[in-house]
Amino acid sequence: MEDGLARPELDVLPGLSQVIRLRAGGSYQVDSASLALALMAGPSRGGAWCAAVGWDDFGAEAAAELGVVLERTILVPDPGEAWLEATAALVDVTALVLVKPPVRVPEGVAAKLSARLRKRGAVLVSLGSWPRPEALISVAEPQWTGLGRGEGHLQSRQVVVEVRRGAAPPRRTALRFPSLDGVTVAERVETPGQARRPLREVG
């Protein structure tokens, strides 16, 4: 971005592409593991290698359901103190690295890694706070459907995904993620507030 060239974008799953764009060289902060896996699924389905550093609770089956190709996924579940070095080494060779920073990340470290990301054209998705992310993606108001009081099972979830880029006002989108049919990962929900209401007399 600094050299004036448009940065290429990474693939994002069809249902999410209207909501989130991953630009090569950016770092993104996410607060939901399933959303992070869904972001990983886009480049992974497109043939790129992806990695997850510090995720000791990686749900491989959920990742596969979302479309992550596990054969091209590298896990470093317990990097310990060397999580930053491991992340940097994997940034060199993969398109997207998920990381769960165990400690607060100093700004200088993030800036150095960010330079490396831009050089390699990779994307960093952090589950947990990351200094000055390109976008801050959070999931709010989750509502699960499919189960009641002792019957049914979890089927689909309606969430509001909030994307905050810098100082701009956050963009909120209602999504069904995972969706009901189990085939498409996410689909947009038309909220009643967006539909045009008939005019009526006031006062």
Partner: protein, 505 residues
């Protein structure tokens, strides 16, 4: 051509025990698919044999050490033996881990028995005690001789007497159970009986291998050894006489060596991505450091690293006297083709290099590949395989697995389940009664120590698990709980205690 075969019996067991730092005399066996693949002498004393089922083996010897079959480990451990043999006699032909052939050194050691003694002494020095050596005119006879030699002894079959030796052997040495069975039923019990048959008959009735052995018994059928080329020596060093005491002079004098180091790698189509630079002062190693390069080392990069290391060591005080020697050791080399920039982006070999770097930092097992398998709980349905090793013993996914949870799968699967709490409307902990009944409906729950108590908004279950019901008091029942904050958890009652296994985050 005289051939010498070195046989280390029960190599898979020996390699596995050595890896675990266990003594070799304990009864142990290597299993694949619950069938004994190899066992050691201690296990054989209890009557354990190859091909025996695991439960039979363990019933004969309950303290039997059960080891998994890992061919990579066997080959890795045998590399040490090959390197030692190459020191004595270049041109070794590894047949499989534990068995290696080489051209017999002949008169160099004063005779063939003496050569065998030198080799077995060398291997015993490496810690491989059970070594047997066979020397004969060709490979098959030498291997059979090695199998009949005493421990740390060699059995020499004189030139031209292979046939005499082989005629005494039973037909089992064919190593083809069907053919052996057929020969036995025909009343042919030794190779002498087989040798008595006409060549054409053997070829048409008993197949290729029997025909080949028939030819060997008659003094033909020798095959040349496929010897391996020893790995090249890539270390470069330079000595300074008189010794140098300034970093600049050392770097200037080491420049040619650095160029030679890169050039000799280049001739083999290799590049070095990790190098160990060692500096000796007064004949003792004064400073040694490992340097990584994001791409690969050129001569200038090497000299830079040497300069940084010298300046650093001089400042800290590691180097007090003048420098006599600098050594460059390539720690990781890669094919030069992997590092050329591709026209269409990176290659998988580049990824492998990145993984190798992380493994170099954190250890071999730190990088894993996630794989799916069959199972009932989310943690059982996935496995982690160390990168570069083959996944083994995975449960098949195609089976129905009653009691497993329908999709979607949880995004977070805790490696160690969290201790949870689930209460009913009256505030009592919920207990599981007989036949999957519950003492009450869940009303409040706490998924883990870091979470707070909250009311249950919706729940599903119980999913009883028909697993290990014969273990006393074990009744596993799973629930999906959704709290009022909208987050969903997979909570399990494991007999008495409640645990959280996974989160639908």
């Amino acid at each position: 051509m005289r051939t010498l075969v070195v046989w280390c019996p029960d190599w898979p067991v020996m390699a596995a025990l050595a890896e675990r730092d266990l003594p070799g005399h304990l009864p142990a066996a290597v299993f694949a698919a619950n069938v004994v693949q190899a066992c050691n002498g201690g296990a054989r004393d209890f009557g354990i044999r190859r091909g025996m089922r695991r439960r039979d083996a363990q019933s004969r010897c309950p303290e039997l050490i059960v080891l998994d079959q890992v061919p990579e480990r066997d080959a890795r451990a045998f590399e040490r033996v090959l390197a030692a043999l190459e020191e004595l006699r270049p041109g070794v032909a590894p047949l499989r881990p534990g068995l290696v052939a080489l051209r017999s050194p002949g008169r160099f050691y004063g005779g063939e028995p003496e050569a065998g003694a030198v080799i077995s002494e060398c291997l015993v020095g490496l810690g491989v005690r059970d070594v047997r050596i066979g020397i004969a005119d060709e490979l098959f006879t030498a291997e059979q001789a090695a199998r009949r030699a005493e421990i740390q002894q060699s059995l020499v079959i004189p030139a031209g007497e292979s046939g005499v030796f082989l005629r005494t052997l039973p037909v089992d040495v064919l190593d083809e159970p069907e053919t052996v069975g057929l020969l036995r039923r025909l009343g042919l019990h030794t190779l002498a009986d087989l040798a008595g048959l006409p060549t054409e008959t053997v070829r048409s009735r008993f197949g290729q291998r029997a025909a080949w052995i028939h030819r060997v018994v008659h003094g033909g059928g020798a095959r040349p050894l496929a010897t391996r080329t020893p790995p090249p020596e890539l270390v470069c060093e330079v000595d300074f006489e008189p010794a140098l005491d300034s970093a600049e002079t050392v770097c200037f004098s080491a420049r040619q060596t650095a160029e030679r180091f890169v050039a000799q790698l280049g001739q083999r189509q290799l590049v070095c991505t990790e190098v160990v630079v060692g500096v000796e002062a007064d004949g003792a190693l004064a400073s040694e450091r490992r340097w990584l390069h994001p791409r690969w080392f050129g001569p200038v990069d090497l000299i830079d690293r040497l300069h940084w290391q010298l300046v650093g060591s001089l400042r800290v005080g590691d180097l007090r006297s003048a420098i006599t020697r600098v050594r460059f050791t390539p720690e990781t080399v890669a094919s030069a083709g992997d590092h050329a920039d591709g026209l269409w982006g990176g290659t998988d070999a580049r990824v492998e290099r990145g993984i190798a770097r992380v493994q170099g930092m954190l250890g071999q097992d730190s990088v894993v590949a996630p794989v799916l398998q069959g199972g009932r709980s989310p943690a059982d349905r996935q496995a982690r395989v160390p990168w570069g090793e083959r996944s083994q013993g995975l449960r098949p996914r195609g089976l129905p697995w009653p009691g497993s949870i329908p999709p979607p799968a949880p995004a977070r699967v805790f490696p160690e389940p969290w201790a949870a709490g689930v209460l009913d409307a009256a505030g009592r902990p919920i207990a599981m009664l007989a036949r999957g009944a519950m003492s009450g409906e869940p009303a409040r729950f706490k998924p883990g120590a870091a979470e707070t108590w909250q009311p249950v908004a919706a729940w599903a279950g119980p999913w009883p698990v028909d697993e290990r019901w014969w273990e006393d008091g074990r009744q596993v029942v799973r629930f999906q709980l959704v709290g009022v904050d909208g987050r969903a958890w997979l909570v399990t009652c494991d007999g008495a205690a409640w645990i959280t296994e996974a989160a639908y985050d």
